[in-house]
Amino acid sequence: MTLLDFARGPALAWSLYILFFGSLLRLVGVLLARKHVDLSQPRNADTLGDSVRTVFTRFWFKPEFRASTLFITLIGYAMHIGLAVVVLLFVPHILFISKLSGLSWGGLPNDTIMLAGAITLAALVAMWVRRLQNPLMQAISNWEDHLALFITGLPVLTGMMAYGHLFQDYPTLLAIHILSVELLFVWFPFGKLFHAVMWIPTRFKLGAHFSRRGVKA
């Protein structure tokens, strides 16, 4: 069995098993956990509207925080949109997702995907440098923040290397790329990258919490 056979076969199967096992475990465990009993008098009993609103208002910063958050917001958007383009609009990726979900859609030309990949990588590097240099980010960062950036960037980097046949033959680079994606699959449910699933319930919960206390956020 070659490295590519291993990556396309058993390694891919097991990484998907771990991805789905871990994701369901964490999602169900968190959503079914007992709600915090708040004994205080609520300032606003009907929190649903604010909860839903918070899911969307967090897409952009408040004007008063512009100076401190504009850069990281734009970089964050560049990274997330670039990653979404690479993952969801590169035809070989669509075929893989199609096998899992049965869904299919059109893709983009490879040049566009490469551009999106380059933007994603540049944004990830910028985020990492900021995390290393900003004193506040240094204070609140732990090893997992660095690992999450690395695990996110690695498939993009190896994918672009495979496309360009850099340093190795294509089958070897493709195998490394697939293995790096499998590393992402395995780590995804158990680390901070799971925010990709939890961002809606988290914002909803935060909105409800603030609304109950009368905080406009």
Binding site: M1, T2, L4, D5, R8, G9, P10, L12, A13, L16, Y17, I18, F20, F21, G22, S23, L24, L25, R26, L27, V28, G29, L31, L32, A33, R34, V91, P92, H93, L95, F96, S98, K99, L100, G106, G107, L108, P109, N110, D111, H165, Y170, P171, L174, I178
Partner: protein, 357 residues
Amino acid sequence: MSDDKTLGERLRESGLSRRGFMKFCAATASMMALPPSMIPAIAAALEKARRPSVIWLSFQECTGYTESLTRSHSPTIESLIFDHISLDYHHTLQAAAGDGAEAARKAAMKENWGKYLLVVDGAIPQKDGRVYSAIAGMTNLEMLKEVAEGAAAVVAVGTCAAYGGLPKASPNPTGATYVSDLITDKPVLNVPSCPPIPVVISGTLAHYLTFGTLPELDHLGRPKAFYGQSIHDRCYRRPFYERGQFAETFDDEGARKGWCLYKLGCKGPVTYNACATTKWNEGTSFPIQSGHGCIGCSEPDFWDKGGFYEALSKGTFSSAEGIALAAGAGAAIGVAAAMGAKSRQTEADAKHKEDPA
């Protein structure tokens, strides 16, 4: 058997012009990525070369390579070159049969001991006392070992000889294996494909005649000159891949327009061969040009690398049951964990109410 005439003399006797001969030498140099300055050297060496003795052993195979070689290039430079080797033993092409054929093999071995080329076509069965294929009372392994002992080099022609091919495909009922797995004390050159392109073997032979050595090989024992680039990298449909234009079925508009066959399972990106450049039938076409994706037949174990019509990026795993089971197990454990946590919290609340201190 070998005789005293040189290759140049024999080619001229066959009516080949000097221009035609030099054209072949230039094409050979070009194909094998040799500099133009090597063309005279190739011509001089081929001119003087005595026709070498070649013993061709056919084991677990379908004779596809012989079919390919004899039917597709007649008469061409390649076939002329082949006419001018001394093919002393070949089941399909030799006139002799039975004891006469075996006597010819033994005589050729004795006369050219240490100098003849051994060409092997087919896999070698190893299971159950190697009973699945035998010739003249000898198992394939016995014959291979016997002939390889006196060979200058061994050329494994076709994917069956090079990597086991279809006989070795799972579940490999005959325990088939390949030449380089068994012959480790001689230079072994692999010319895989199912079947290989005739010009690849003639080019390889020309290299051997010219330099007296086998050409530079890749990590799978294949001549780099022919197997150095992937089908995908040299495919004329590659621009469609880059533009995201794919045939979705074999008879849709994309297929009629000649768009990329990646979605239909083409394995060109991970297959190294000369099909896209030298093509078949005197450069007429190759499978992708004829509308079918590459099946990766020059790669080891190509038969067991997933469906021929499954896109490369889809992987070879069967997903549904395992993923459903994993997701179900995750959800069940998540529910159990949440319930357990709730239960513990409820107990703690009850205790707190009983004894707030």
